[in-house]
Symmetry: C2
Subunit: 662 residues, 2 copies
């Protein structure tokens, strides 16, 4: 076998595993795997370092298939390289329930799938996060332990999505020179030639974002390999524009949109086999090709072994710390530090906006948890996500722990996903709650991937005041609560804020959103409780003096109002209890007994939250009284807004009295 | 007064009205208005055509303040130009409840505010939509009637947001040469100098997106004016990079982040007055400056008059059509066409995916409603949003009615807002329901602005099958329903789809989202009903044979399943009725009587929707049975997925039987 024919055979293995799997599933995207097969072959077999038998080796190179619809490219490659999770049965069962080979690559289904992709533009932003994590950890643990590249394959779709441009400019700014993006420049999208919808000079655009760019023939293995070598030497992130033919080898569909997102058809595949000289039956491989791939798959074991040796001979404290962080375990002192801090708070009873309470909690956390990496989307002074331990990361110095993400909420959230996926760090963000809408697709993916990221979302209601309805979240709490596997916290005071932070950091498989106020709030927890009461999701904060006639359930800033209403109702002879509800999702997971006891049996239930009612019926019942918003907000001083929208203790009392008299 | 000192005085009028208003409100953003005052003065008084006394004149130039936090720039300018909605009291009452001068510019508060801005990047994408509308209408009605520019002021924040890059590439592709964007290049964001978070060469980036670019000194009125002249001659959209000093004139804060988002302080303003030679007391103006502005404000009346003459002498049919569309009225034949089509459907009882039913409805609608302008975010063949009447719009030919938006969901939604705000057209989109997450901020703004846009959102559940959980909406219906003033439709068959389309087009003040299936559905409406039953939001589709023991409420594809379950329950001696629920929001607005009758008094209520429960409690009660999703989906053939997740008639029947036996 000449080296040329060997390459061709290896690439064709990807092509036909992919085309056949799509055909068998009767759905999927053959075009990208066939077009990018040469790129993947060169990248995986000649350039990347990884170890299929120890696939989670921390210093492996990362590969992100941002164009996730081309999932068969990844599955074929992993199978060919000898990753055990993906065997031929998995290839055959592409897109079937229970298989590891889902329609789009899903993190957690199989080793080698570094992130879940499919929603376009997310993968490249994840890759930016991974490259940030690598650089940060290399700074901390040294190049002997952390020194790898992050590769990412993007299509035109990824580059059209706004999120990619946020991520690209961030990467260019931070000089992430170990990030190498390969653009599968096949000139086709679902609607047809790219010229139908775009005329951008992508090379010039990357250059304007401070990237190194290289143009290659995506079907010339030497050209591709030389570009990868060159990219590794760059002091900037590199974009390799690889001109490819979508559906390469398909006789009538190659180079057209027909190759993109539907099975090619048996006849088309048959002729492609003839054209490319591929004799193997579907789901079989010529032994020499298989061997060539498996040998390439073992190539990196040596790099892993050498790394292992370096790790073993490194400073034992450093090593211990590295390994703890790889396991995702929090430091031993974490719980005690929170407990000590809660004691302080119980003594001092500070009155503070919860955004500031969050900063104070972070001051404690960042002191004992060195793996946190904070940030803000250009609202640092408003989100209060920086602390004394978190100087900024700059393009030339990654010793800091705070990322100025710029006005890029979406890329921030997706980069955080990449940081968490990389391992060794726990990312948290800073943004306004209203702008969770800007990064919702990435928050959703964090929930789907079951990774630990923490979104600090301040200015969490009309309580932000004068900025008005464009900045006042009304439906964002409900919208976030609708996402499966996302904990949405809305703490009521300094102590609850500390507890919610503790829960967020301890939730290894669940991302968290912490909604925080701009305005000051009193302490509502009078005494120290060792238990993390917020872990219950909801708990009785103030009991009724007598048999309760009213249960008030409230979250965040409205707990103060609930307590005020309780006092008024108590005085009026209506025994009332108050339940604080910092987290719906955790309350859902409590025992039926606890839930029943917490909901109580007072005949009247009231919910209070300066937001829409949706979701509250699960707690107060569809006949419960709800004091909140049913429209967008308005611009004005916040106390006036609360009056204007009838979110006051008096309004609550009136509604209860009306119900009692009904 | 020399022309120089006159300009300086006019610009200073903006500066001090703005600084004083922010100071009085004790919150707001003085930096942008002070920095961009020279630009605004030149643009409004020398270049734009408008008519303060007839502010909604259709052929006026549009101005969009994409950097909406600088709202006082707009309010000051409108006041100075003589727009009657904004008087000095409004300026004094900046950011107070009930004032027209909200923290961020809000569409509908005052004439001259062309769109609601504040969430960054939205404005420029709106402006792209306005420029598209202008070009489309100019093609249709001729340059005598439609021929104006769209101007937009953006800040660095707008340009960092991904949505702006989607919009910019779209505008470059479409060669929208009457779009002129001025970049307030003040090099400052909230976190500090732009260098903290960005290193992009914005000029090169715009060039790569096929824009014309010009660099000017943003404080040199002649330079600015010459650039605007040049821009008007370009055959591409133009970006004018105007170098400015944020907070121009503030002695210690100019050029720093301290000028950005907080009142300057009385002392700082006092010294600024001295520095710039501004003697007028707060909220007063020198008569000569005031006159100069008002005269400029009247300048354009002439252009309006000339336009009026051209309109009056134009073809009367054309004119009638233009005026009808400006009023936003649907054509007279619309209702009849829908009724005739519904009759056909009742006769034929077709089995069709609702996405295809939507296409068939659109075929009818587009035939009688010439003002619709459709599109898709690169999913034309999947969304089925094109019809025989909608050839594509291309960069060189706007006679079409279909926009290939590319893989740019967010810019699509924001551009649609711009199209609707412009007037004369009704935009509808095409996308997957899952990707409503990508454009949520723009959908929200449509709801807040009360404008008519229609989002066609196909592939609306796990029913899309093999693409898997990244593409399967689970929480998107709930999340959309949480937005105030948005109608979320989920029709069950061809007839409901037609009715929902009718409602969407008739809702002049409410945007709509129509969720549609990928998979085929039977007709569930057996007979023709002249009434639009979907207008009720929910209605009894199948009565119980006897006193109902069970009411099943279902939407979209799950109505079929509900009917199947009814049959089974009926057979088992459990009289059951089925209520179709195509629109929660419209059901909410029905009379208490109708609601009560529709909810019925069967002891068991069941909700069925292949999505999360959130929101359903309002209909089925918190003790109702819900058959739906409580997790993300999975990749597999759709019928297997319904089985896998227990969304079947049998599961429903079992749940009811269990309840009956409990």
């Amino acid at each position: 076998m000449t080296s040329e024919s060997k390459h061709a055979g290896m690439a064709n293995a990807i092509r036909f595993l992919s085309a056949d799997a799509v055909q068998a599933a009767n759905s999927g995207h053959p075009g990208l795997p066939m077009g990018a097969a040469d790129i993947a072959t060169v990248l995986f077999t000649q350039h990347m370092k990884f170890d299929p038998k120890n696939p989670n080796w921390p210093d492996r190179d990362r590969f992100v298939l941002s164009a996730g619809h081309g999932s068969m490219l990844l599955y074929s490659s992993l199978f060919l390289l000898g990753y055990e999770d993906i065997d031929m049965d998995q290839i055959r069962n592409f897109r079937q329930i229970g298989s590891k080979t889902a329609g789009h690559p899903e993190y957690g289904h199989a080793a080698g799938i570094e992130t879940t992709t499919g929603p376009l533009g997310q993968g490249i932003a994840n890759a930016v996060g991974m490259a940030m994590a690598e650089r940060k950890l290399a700074d901390e643990f040294g190049a002997d332990i952390v020194d790898h590249h992050t590769y990412c394959l993007v299509g035109d779709g990824c580059l059209m999505e706004g999120i990619s441009q946020e991520a690209i400019t961030l990467a260019g700014h931070l000089k992430l020179n170990k990030l190498i993006v390969i653009w599968d420049n096949n000139n086709i999208s679902i609607d047809g030639p790219i010229s139908v919808s775009d005329s951008t000079d992508q090379i010039m655009r990357f250059k304007s974002c401070q990237w190194n760019t290289i143009e290659v023939d995506g079907h010339d293995p030497e050209d591709i390999s030389a570009a990868l070598e060159q990219a590794k030497k760059s002091d900037k992130p590199t974009m390799i524009a690889a001109k490819t033919i979508i559906g390469f080898g398909a006789p009538t569909k190659a180079g057209t949109k027909d190759a993109h997102g539907a099975p090619l058809g048996n006849e088309e595949i048959k002729i492609a086999r003839e054209t490319l000289g591929w004799d193997a039956e579907p789901f079989t491989l010529p032994a020499d090709i298989c061997d060539a791939w498996r040998i390439a798959g073992l190539r990196s074991a040596q790099a892993h072994k050498e790394w292992q040796k370096r790790l073993e001979t490194s400073d034992s404290t450093l090593r211990g710390e590295f390994e703890r962080r790889q396991r995702g375990e929090l430091p031993a002192g974490f719980g005690d530090a929170i407990a000590a801090y809660k004691k302080e708070l119980a003594d001092e009873q500070p009155k503070k906006a919860t955004r500031k309470a969050s900063q104070a909690a972070l001051e404690v956390i960042n002191g004992v948890v060195p793996e946190t990496i904070g940030g803000s989307a250009d609202l640092t002074g408003s989100n209060n996500t920086n602390t004394s331990q978190t100087p900024p990361i700059t393009p030339d110095d990654f010793s800091g722990r705070f990322v100025h993400y710029g006005i890029r909420e979406h890329a921030m959230a997706a980069a955080m996903n990449g940081i968490a996926l990389h391992g060794g760090l726990i990312p948290y963000s800073g943004g306004f709650l209203i702008f969770s809408d800007y990064c919702r697709p990435s928050i959703r993916l964090a929930a789907l991937m079951e990774i630990r990221v923490v979104h600090v979302l301040t200015h969490d209601s009309i309580g932000l005041g004068e900025d008005g309805p464009t900045h006042q979240p009304v439906e964002q709490l409900a919208a976030l609560r609708s996402i499966p596997n996302l904990n949405v916290f809305r703490p009521a005071d300094v102590t609850e804020t500390a507890e919610c932070w503790q829960l967020a950091l301890e939730a290894e498989k669940t991302p968290s959103a912490i909604a925080l106020t701009r305005q000051d709030l009193p302490s509502v927890r009078a005494t120290f409780e060792a238990e993390n009461l917020c872990a219950r999701g909801a708990y009785e904060l103030a009991a009724a003096e007598d048999e309760a006639q009213v249960s008030i359930f409230a979250s965040g800033s409205e707990v103060e109002l609930a307590l005020e209403a309780k006092e008024k109702l108590d005085s009026a002879g209506v025994p009332t209890r108050v339940v604080s509800v910092p987290c719906f999702e955790l309350f859902e997971t409590q025992s039926g007994e606890y839930r029943a006891a917490t909901l109580g049996d007072a005949p009247i239930r009231v919910g209070v939250e300066a937001a829409v009612r949706q979701g509250w019926d699960a707690i107060i019942g569809s006949d419960g009284i709800f004091i909140g918003m049913d429209s967008f907000g308005a611009s004005g001083p916040y106390k006036e807004l609360y009056e204007h929208f009838g979110i006051t203790a008096d309004a609550l009392v009136d509604a209860v009295q009306a119900r009692l008299q009904a």
